[in-house]
């Protein structure tokens, strides 16, 4: 199914959709993060209500060779609750900003989930047997009168229905004055970073009462504040290297070996701006909402309001590629500013690592409005726009590409810019680490698409 043309010969088909059908969306149901684990067997979502839902892929059915296993609910739990900062009389939202999985080391699965202020390490474990035949307890848990016990028996484990339990193993709190936007697990699998608007902290997964501040961009005088941190990520292979992006469209690469406080970057990635093009909106739309390293670690991708940029770590002065996500919005910036959409934070992701490693194809994906999402093939430079909609509900039906008509005569099947629904945003997407399976979150629904298998 690869085709000579590269990744964009992939034919995407609807597989599943999760969530309520009704249009009346409760705030709590707004999906705020989506993440596959390292094997792709598990898919986690977080929402504004502080809840995590984990889906597990069914084992492949040998008789159903036309599709891969479906994702079914595996576990769901309340990760964060609303809290109150008494000193400032401010509510701390329970919304899950990010989920990151740890690589699996034993039978249990571990993930980090974070809201604005507190990061939690969750252990998800399975229980499929339970002890029976206690001497001092009845089966229903009531205690037996010891004087009635005349013989002793050895309790045995008997199978039971699978139970999946989530328990918080570590709570990493009180280290962030500002709002956490990113967490990233180091390739050493022992430490991780958490980033807020002005600071980045380094933690050890075992230690909750201490963290090291590694970046601090808070100015002595807050009146001088010009830039905030928008995202941060560890390099996939170099445990001493991380990057952070800013609201001014810059990315700084830091080396923790250089000094304890990485306020001075090792590299600064910035595309020079054409001063004649500068407008009131320039800085706002240049703000980077997401940064992701490629699986090899040679490249990184950034998402700003209108585009996706690919950077070569060896070249700081400009990106190697720029892909326009929805350039037609440039002439709508005034109304997008008025309805706050200009501040929407879109994420981006790379396709699975195997296909990148074998240089088969490299594709990047990101969301847009009207429940559209976009993919760009780095090799062929082709792009595609698809829609996450319940209207394309039949499994194995190939999704039809969409086209937005920027101006002038609208062709049949095209959608005009003015008809786009700006309340239908796809901010979060994820790509299975090995297969061509993608998870796309609309406001309150999770769509799973797969490539068509022959």
């Amino acid at each position: 199914f690869l085709g000579a043309g590269g990744g964009n010969d992939i034919q995407w088909c609807f597989s599943q959709v999760k969530g309520a059908v009704d249009d009346d969306v409760a705030e709590a149901d707004i999906i705020s993060t989506v993440e596959f684990n390292h094997s792709g067997e598990l898919l986690a979502t977080g929402d504004k209500g502080g809840r995590v839902v984990i889906f597990q892929q069914e084992q492949e059915n040998k008789t159903q060779s036309h599709s891969r296993g479906e994702y079914n609910v595996y576990s769901t739990f309340q990760s964060h609750e609303p809290e109150f900062d008494y000193l400032k009389s401010l509510e701390i939202e329970e919304k899950i900003n990010k989920i990151r999985w740890l690589p699996q080391k034993n039978a249990a699965q571990f993930l980090l989930s974070t809201n604005d202020k507190t990061i939690k390490l969750w252990k998800i474990s399975e229980r499929d047997k339970r002890p029976e035949g206690y001497n001092l307890k009845e089966e229903d848990g009531r205690y037996r009168d010891p004087t009635t016990v005349t013989t002793l028996r050895v309790p045995v484990f008997r199978p039971m229905d699978l139970m999946v339990e989530a328990s918080p193993r570590r709570i990493f709190a009180n280290a962030h004055t500002y709002h956490i936007n990113s967490i990233s697990i180091n390739s050493d699998y022992e430490t991780y970073l958490s980033a807020d608007d002005l600071r980045i902290n380094l933690w050890h997964l075992e230690i909750t009462d201490r963290s090291f501040n590694i970046v601090d961009i808070k100015p002595a005088n807050m009146e001088e504040l010009t830039e905030v941190i928008t995202a941060a990520e560890f390099h996939p292979n170099s445990c001493n290297t991380f990057v952070y992006s800013s609201s001014k469209g810059t990315i700084r690469l830091c080396d923790m070996r250089a000094s304890a406080l990485c306020d001075r970057h090792s590299k600064l990635f910035e595309e020079p701006e054409d001063p004649s093009n500068r407008s009131f909106f320039s800085e706002i739309i240049s703000s980077i909402s997401d940064v992701k390293f490629s699986h090899s670690g040679r490249y990184m991708m950034t998402r700003d309001y209108l585009s996706v940029k690919i950077w070569d770590l060896n070249m700081e002065n400009r990106p190697v590629e720029t892909y326009q996500v929805h350039e037609y919005l440039r002439s709508k910036l005034c109304s997008l500013y008025e309805n706050d959409c200009i501040f929407d934070k879109f994420e981006c992701c790379w396709n699975g690592s195997d296909r990148q490693v074998f240089l088969l194809y490299i594709i990047v994906m990101t969301g847009s409005y009207n429940n559209f999402f976009r993919m760009f093939d780095r090799n062929t430079k082709r792009d595609i726009t698809l829609e996450a909609s319940r209207e394309n509900n039949k499994p194995r039906t190939v999704l039809k590409p969409r086209k937005v008509c920027a101006s002038g005569k609208r062709k049949k099947d095209e959608i005009s810019v003015d008809s786009l629904d700006f309340n239908k945003k796809i901010l979060h997407t994820a790509w299975h680490p090995k297969e061509n399976i993608i998870a796309v979150a609309t406001t309150n629904n999770l769509y799973i698409f797969q490539d068509k298998m022959n």
């Binding site: 999760k18 969530g19 309520a20 709590a28 149901d29 999906i31 979502t45 929402d47 209500g49 502080g50 809840r51 839902v53 609910v73 769901t76 309340q78 609750e81 609303p82 109150f84 400032k88 009389s89 401010l90 509510e91 701390i92 939202e93 604005d116 500002y178 709002h179 608007d197 002005l198 807050m222 009146e223 001088e224 504040l225 010009t226 830039e227 905030v228 609201s247 093009n277 407008s279 009131f280 909106f281 320039s282 800085e283 706002i284 440039r330 002439s331 709508k332 910036l333 005034c334 500013y337 008025e338 501040f343 309150n444 999770l446």
Partner: protein, 99 residues
């Protein structure tokens, strides 16, 4: 500048002109960027009886302090009154994704 040449305005600049026509005072505040300050102070501010009573004591006339036009702005004088309080959130249920 050659005034005889028709100046092409980029779409971005045209949008900027539209915005400035609607909001003439935009972008004229001194100090750090408005967006950044707003971003740092995101979060629902609630009624703080301590702040409220301190502010009341400060007032020369007996007018009650109110939150002001921007309810999210957190400074000493912008204090929500009980009337400005939003509804508390309803209790939590299982996610519909799991249903």
């Amino acid at each position: 500048q050659d005034m005889q040449e028709k100046e092409t305005i980029t779409p971005e600049r045209a949008e900027e002109a539209k915005l400035k026509a609607k909001y003439p005072n935009l972008g004229q505040k001194p100090g750090g960027s408005d967006f950044l300050m707003k971003r740092l102070q995101k979060g629902q501010k609630y009624f703080d009886s301590g702040d409220y009573n301190m502010a009341k004591a400060k007032m020369k006339n007996k007018q009650l302090p109110s939150a002001g036009p921007d309810k999210n702005l957190v400074t000493g004088d912008h204090i929500p009154t009980p009337q400005d309080l939003p509804q508390r959130k309803s209790s939590l249920v299982t996610s519909k994704l799991a249903g």
